[in-house]
């Protein structure tokens, strides 16, 4: 695991309410680096978010828009956030329902700049 990647992810997970962060290969959903709390299935999370990001990309393409620079799935008990970190990687975070999404998003942006 790349030290730069790991430090970037650890900075993200310092945000209160963040249960984990991953770097994922966007093409196939494979985990490149991870910083996860116990009980979080990183491989499933990576595959699911990469697949969702692909689906949303098709929606934006159909609407004639550029590929997403930020993606957020909100649910009853938390949220998934994702953004590109360079051309081939996705930075993904799993947050609790009471986390500050604005702070989490800013942390992801900082980390994406480091990784890219």
């Amino acid at each position: 695991m790349n030290g730069v990647h790991l430090r970037a992810l650890e900075a993200v997970t310092r945000v209160r309410g963040l249960r984990g962060a991953l770097l994922v290969a966007a093409a196939d959903g494979i985990v490149v680096a991870e910083s996860l709390m116990e009980g979080v299935d990183g491989h499933a999370m990576a595959a699911l978010v990469a697949s969702l990001a692909g689906r949303v990309r098709r929606v934006t393409a159909g609407a004639g828009l550029a590929a997403p620079s930020f993606l957020q799935l909100r649910a009853e008990r938390g949220a998934l956030l994702a953004m590109p970190a360079g051309p081939d990687l996705l930075l993904v975070a799993l947050v609790d329902s009471d986390a500050n999404l604005g702070l989490a998003r800013l942390a992801l942006m900082d980390a994406a700049r480091v990784v890219a």
């Binding site: 595959a47 929606v59 609407a63 909100r74």
Partner: protein
């Protein structure tokens, strides 16, 4: 790797001819591991080329991977083995619809309806394609337009950029235009069902409860998706300067209006 997948993988490794490959491939597909799912399903089809359900499973995985032509071939193989296979007819109907061939889409949906007369989704899709007269008399064009405007008009000062679709990827109302002025409504509606399924799958496997919304930002627009009802999905699109929380409020208002409209036309 979950326990069930582990045990099925072990069983398949011990007996390569075991039919557990069907359940294993489906489980991998449900977890979003499409490459692994396809490998298992494809190997199984190689061992059981006469098994229609295996060809159907391959096609569904190929659709998840957006390998449209390959999915068409897999469903065509299924129909060669079983000309009345409902799943294959539904799948091919959707592909024809996406390609803009509503006549062939309707033909395949009608074959599917013969095989499963109780499937309300098939009948609803045929109604929207105009192949079947609706049970209740439809309002005339002016009345339908006024109802749709009431549901989709004047959100946040604009009636454009709101689209309601069903879970079969068919447009129910609203319009989406691309930045170059092209009507992108049907093309976008066809993709929304896939987003809804992926969101539902993600929250189920990560134990996050019900999904509420998917939001995305790009350089030239922001979008917000949410499910007004169990079998519809609403997309709201705005220019990039609109703050995400404001777009979420606009989308919630549109969803409330869409629910009311769906009940009126129900």
């Amino acid at each position: 790797m979950s326990d069930d997948i582990r045990s099925m993988t072990t069983e398949l490794a011990a007996d390569a001819r075991s039919l557990v490959f069907m359940e294993l491939a489906e489980a991998l597909r449900q977890r979003g591991q499409y490459a692994a799912a396809y490998k298992v399903a494809r190997t199984g089809v190689g061992r059981y080329p006469e098994l229609v359900a295996a060809h159907d499973l391959c096609a569904r995985i190929q659709m998840d991977q957006d390998h449209v032509e390959a999915a068409f071939e897999s469903w065509a193989d299924a129909l060669r083995l079983d000309p009345e296979h409902v799943g294959a007819h539904k799948g091919i109907a959707f592909l024809y619809y996406r390609a803009g061939d509503t006549v062939r889409a309707a033909e395949h949906l009608e074959r599917a309806a013969l095989g499963d007369p109780g499937d309300a989704g098939i009948r609803a899709a045929l109604t929207r394609l105009g192949a079947v007269a609706p049970v209740a008399a439809a309002p005339d064009d002016d009345e339908r337009g006024a109802e749709e405007s009431a549901a989709f008009g004047e959100f946040d000062g604009s009636c454009a950029g709101v689209l309601l679709a069903d879970i079969n990827g068919l447009r129910l109302g609203g319009t989406i235009q691309s930045p170059d002025g092209r009507d992108a409504s049907d093309a976008v509606a066809a993709q929304l069902a896939g987003v809804s399924r992926e969101a539902a799958r993600a929250v189920r496997l990560l134990d996050l409860g019900e999904w509420h919304s998917v939001a995305a930002e790009s350089l030239d627009g922001s979008l917000h998706l949410l499910p007004p009802t169990d079998d519809t999905i609403l997309l709201t699109v705005r220019e990039p300067g609109v703050p995400s929380a404001r777009l979420a409020l606009v989308a919630e208002r549109a969803a409330t209006a869409a629910r009311a409209w769906l009940e009126r036309i129900g």
